[in-house]
């Protein structure tokens, strides 16, 4: 099986799906002639032409509004937002139109489309090229939210997102684009939306995470294992709708939970996970649910190593939780 980086896997998903389905078109800034600032759409303009790989004017509300109008008409657009940090000019369209269209039209009109956006930190991009703002989308009923952590999932989840009948916000941890490689099958496969994945089985602590933090979590789990703590790392993969069952099953086994994400702490996804577990597995809990998260400050440029959860922080928190 070919070994691809995450960004190559994304490129593959786009190009294979576009070959199969003429109703898929791409829109975004610099995605055509230039192949995308992260090269996610490299070569697609050459293969599929300017009618299907559309370099747009510089306006995110335009990109999303136009893509959505196209989807109402029956196309399946995949819009790229150059950095998740720049999605907010389209926030009204996403919250008030995209998320509510199926609902408010009684299921008659639907927006079958995907918004792809590089997210998260770790590339020294400062507060406008590092945001993890998934909360805004997870809180919005009507949207699905997905974030892969590996090349395999990147391709499989993107294919699933493109085929999904609901609007999907597809968040790509940009620091994994080139730093993570993995085997990726040629051709058709989809990773089902809404399903978490247990990456390491464990008995002592459940570690729930997603995106780039999966790799931090795995490293911390390994180190914890060396110290005799057995950690179950669960990659959520789909952030909305959440896979409750996977989480509750794991907690019933371990009784202890650490949640890791790089998004700010207050009302980051960790809050919801903590609340759900309290509701659904209260009597199984043997320690407080701990969160290791980004801080409630704008993302810091020169101190990003301080800002981000790292292996040490996760490890210490796992130890503390295990020994509570």
């Amino acid at each position: 099986m070919p070994v691809l980086t995450v960004v190559q896997a994304i490129n593959k998903a786009l190009s294979e799906e576009m070959s199969k389905d003429e109703s898929i078109v791409l829109l975004g800034e610099d995605i055509g002639v230039n192949g995308g600032v992260f090269r996610a759409t490299e070569g697609l303009y050459q293969t599929f032409g300017s009618n299907r790989v559309i370099d747009t004017p510089l306006t995110e509300s335009g990109i999303i509004g136009i893509a959505m109008g196209m989807s109402l008409y029956g196309l399946k657009p995949v819009a790229e937002i150059q950095f998740l940090d720049f999605i907010y000019p389209a926030f009204d369209l996403i919250v008030n139109e995209l998320a509510k269209f199926r609902y408010r039209t009684g299921g008659h009109y639907t927006a079958h489309m995907v918004i792809r956006a590089p997210c998260g930190g770790g590339i020294k991009g400062g507060m406008y090229h590092s945001q993890s703002s998934e909360t805004y989308f997870i809180h919005t009923a009507g949207l699905k939210v997905v974030m892969p952590s590996s090349s395999y999932d990147a391709k499989g989840l993107l294919i699933a997102a493109i085929r999904d009948d609901d609007p999907v916000i597809f968040l790509e941890p940009k620091r994994l684009y080139r730093s993570i490689k993995g085997e990726v099958p040629e051709g058709d496969y989809a990773v089902q939306l809404g399903r978490a994945s247990v990456l390491t089985e464990g008995e002592d602590v459940s570690l729930f995470t997603y995106g780039a933090m999966v790799h931090v979590a795995l490293e911390a789990a390994k180190k914890a294992g060396e110290k005799g703590i057995s950690v179950e790392v669960v990659d959520l993969r789909t952030l909305s709708p959440l896979d409750f069952d996977a989480m509750v099953t794991s907690v019933k086994k371990t009784g202890r939970v650490v949640i890791v994400h790089e998004a700010p702490r207050t009302l980051g996804l960790g809050a919801e996970i903590s609340a759900i577990i309290s509701e659904k597995a209260f009597l199984h809990l043997e320690a407080p649910i701990a969160r290791v998260t980004g801080y409630d400050t704008p993302y810091h440029y020169s101190l990003e190593e301080v800002y981000l959860p790292n292996v040490e922080k996760v490890l210490k928190t796992v130890e503390k939780t295990a020994s509570f």
């Binding site: 509004g65 008030n96 609902y103 299921g107 009109y109 009507g142």
Partner: protein, 359 residues
């Protein structure tokens, strides 16, 4: 009307034969009939609201020619993106009166399952995309649909309605930008009814009018007497033809006036004078078409009386049926958030059902 504003029929019903689109009698009757139905519908909905039988309504009295005339220039396969004040266009294109009322009541017969507040009509089978409340969002959506049609090779156009206030929205700019860059077959139809709630049009623009904004997009821009249905039809038809021939979008400014309140919650006496309203009442678009028809010997007292009676009866019938329909089911509240109901929503539905039994 000031120069540069197209008019075919003047306030007295005199018309310029060179400009008259010369529609057949049956078609003229259809237009007139639609406007009368619309007026009757508006008056009745306001009455229902005053009687406490409906929560809210936004009438279009005085603006019927602007939207009926423009919608009439479209083919059924063309797509319409309404704002919310185009009752006549809904009726012309064929949304049943009972459906319009059911939507306002939010009852179980409503095709949108009672989920929408006021004037949010649409119908997929008629290529009318339901309007929503946020001002301006329909503009880029209409452009996107037009670009999709062009991509698929469908020879259709899209038309977006919006008000003078909506031109200040960022969506106006991004919609016109995309349309001009991609030569999208879209008609941007602005109903300049002089107010956005209480704010007069001069507060929305530094330019002398709205049509002039088209130049900033390298686009055709025209002004038309929005109370003259034949003039509206003419300019829209020209724009539609250009768009259908691949010559790109047009911005149309139809100059009209909102005779009624912004909505049943609004008290227009706070921000405009009765004289102003009266002066515009004299320009009533319905009266205008009636005078034209009479001048051409195509209409009389008897037809007039019959038509009003018929419209009143049809609207009464629609209200009667809609009012009898029950509320939507609790289950339906949780449908259509996603195509398939999520686990969380299934749990929440159970919760709602439990609590609903106690209530």
């Amino acid at each position: 009307m000031s120069s540069g504003v197209l008019q075919v029929v003047n306030q007295e019903g005199k018309f310029d034969p060179k400009l008259d689109p010369d529609l057949p009698q049956s078609e003229l009757h259809k237009l007139y009939r639609t406007m009368i139905y619309t007026r009757v519908f508006d008056n009745r909905m306001i009455a229902l609201q005053r009687q406490g039988r409906m929560s809210f309504y936004a009438p279009c009295v005085g603006e019927e020619a602007a939207h009926v005339g423009s919608a009439y220039a479209l083919k059924p396969e063309d797509w319409l993106f309404p704002q919310y004040r185009e009752q006549g266009a809904m009726i012309l294109r064929g949304i049943p009166l009972e459906q319009l009322v059911s939507s306002l009541f939010g009852n179980r017969n409503d095709v949108c399952k009672g989920r929408n507040f006021a004037n949010a009509w649409g119908d997929r089978s008629l290529n009318i995309v339901n309007s929503s409340a946020p001002v301006g969002t329909q503009i880029p959506l209409a452009v996107g649909a037009a670009m999709a049609a062009k991509y698929k090779g469908d020879k259709i156009v899209t038309l977006a309605y919006f008000g003078d206030g909506s031109t200040s929205s960022g969506y106006f700019h991004v919609g016109l930008t995309f349309a001009s860059v991609f030569k999208a077959p879209t008609i941007f139809f602005c109903k300049n009814n002089q107010y956005a709630v209480s704010v007069p049009t001069q507060r929305q623009l530094g330019s002398e009018n709205i049509a002039v904004k088209a130049a900033g997009y390298g686009m055709e821009g025209v002004q038309v007497d929005g109370n003259d249905i034949l003039a509206v039809y003419r300019v829209t038809k020209d724009a539609v033809e250009r768009a259908r021939n691949g010559e790109g979008p047009t911005l149309i400014e139809a100059i009209t006036y909102r005779i009624g309140p912004h909505s049943t919650s609004d008290d227009p006496s706070r921000y405009r004078s009765q004289e102003e309203v009266e002066s515009w009442k004299r320009k009533d678009p319905i009266k205008r078409l009636r005078l034209y028809l009479e001048n051409r010997g195509l209409w009389g007292e008897k037809e007039e009386a019959d038509l009003w009676k018929e419209a009143e009866d049809m609207v009464s019938e629609a209200v009667r049926k809609a009012e009898a329909a029950p509320l939507p089911t609790v289950e339906s509240m949780f449908e259509d958030v996603y195509k398939e109901m999520s686990t969380a929503l299934k749990e929440q539905l159970q919760d709602a059902l439990t609590f609903h039994e106690w209530g």
